[in-house]
Amino acid sequence: MDIFEQIKSLAGDWLKRKDANEKLTRMLEMIADASAAVETRKSSFVGLAEERLKMAEEARKKALKMFEEDSMEDCEKFCERGLLHLQIASAHMLSEDQFKLEMTFDEGSAEESIERLSNGIARLKMAVEYSNCLVSDHVKEHLLEVVRQREEALSLYAEGGEEDAHRIAEGALLWLHYLGQQLELDNDKPIIQIEPIVKLSPKEMISIKTLIDSIVHCRSVLQVTHTRGYTRVERYLTAAMVNLEKSINAYLDGDADRVARMVTTGLMEARMADELLKSTGPDEGAYEVLASELADDLTIKGREFFRRLVILSRLIKDNFEEPERALNKLDSVNFNYKKCLAAMRDQDMSTASRCAKLAHLDLDYAKQLVIEGVIEPSYSDT
């Protein structure tokens, strides 16, 4: 019989039936045989088996020492430990391929929620990496919070706080659903759908999703129309987000009335933001897709240019001391660049040339201020 099969087949009380001398002798033989067999076998898990055999040998030596000191109880303990390492080594050597881990958690359990949350985070990351899509600061900020909540849920679960862990994981899944939606709208293409767990009736879930959609819609409009944000709109959206959070918490508490109240309030705030945005009018017209190939090329370039401009403006706003002058110049770059695109579409090359030059000069001015630290920059078209 194969040595690993032999070791594997040893019953739990096998050691107990032997006297100490016999135990140590048999251990020594088994370790020697198993080590010799490991060297001649081809297996992906030889490394793991060798490590276990080393541990078995260490346990055997300790058992021998205890035997010499006439400490039979400890001798037995180390023999058992050695045998366990031997059995693990054998299990590794007997598996031709990697053992299949069949971990299916009970539906509705805390661990299932945590697994769904983990998979959701990983799927969202995979979708982002695969599609190279834009991840706004807003999405990133909330995503980091979701990642933190997952860790919190796991720690609570490990400590026996299953109910709290479950609640946190479900709440984080709802946020993840929101982030998936926001990501799709920000990028104007399908990227990922993460479905939350339906705990109350579908009615409450639908109403929360409606609020999520309204907030996401306003944010996506705001993002492409205002490089520096729009304080009044943002104030309404922040209030709507607070109510979204409250409605998610009420949902997790199973409080349908409170969900309804929070969603209604949140929707009112989102609508106010929407009305304000409508009254200012979208100014992304220059980036709309036109029929010709040239227009398509310009549209793609225009969108990427504008995206970079928005990121740069936000970086400057958040990090640069007294950012106003630089931001004004970047606004001007945006204005002239759009005019240049429109003129190119109209084949008005003289206007296009003038606007491109102005945009270039303003960009250089902002660069001198921000990167080179020049206090009084000059216009220079070199």
Binding site: A91, Q98, S118, E304
Partner: protein, 137 residues
């Protein structure tokens, strides 16, 4: 997950987990292009849970060992998926990884990159306009 926890079932799952983690560790070590903090941390936490699982198995505390297995799996599977996502970005993308932990971006280098992109786009556009003006003449 099976309801009846026996010494054999715990042993098989621990062995399977050890193999899973070992494979993941090798993959992470070979991926020289990147070291994601969250993957490394999850891997380390999973290994610690696995070690506790083996200890609890030796002490015949099977339900504790079973909990260790679940926790180790949740951490290891998460690490595997995050690592795979980063591999996709490495193979197909331009190395612009989505960070899931707080990473401070340095303002000036980041601003420089954006200024440089915008500047080169404008230069390109101006030369294109000049070329079209030339053709029209």
């Amino acid at each position: 997950m099976s309801k009846v926890v026996t010494k054999n079932s715990v042993m098989s799952q621990l062995v399977a987990l050890e193999q899973f983690l070992n494979q993941l560790k090798e993959d992470v070590e070979h991926a020289k292009y990147r070291r994601n903090q969250l993957v490394v941390q999850s891997l380390q936490d999973a290994s610690e849970e696995l070690a506790s699982g083996f200890k609890n198995l030796a002490r015949e505390k099977l339900s504790r060992a079973h909990l260790n297995i679940k926790l180790a799996w949740l951490r290891a599977s998460y690490a595997r998926q995050l690592f795979d996502a980063e591999t996709v970005e490495y193979e197909l993308g331009d190395g612009d990884y989505l960070e899931l932990t707080e990473v401070e971006t340095e303002f000036l280098p980041a601003a420089k990159v954006h200024f440089s992109y915008l500047e080169s786009e404008l230069k390109h556009m101006r030369s294109e306009i000049q070329a079209r003006v030339g053709k029209a003449k």
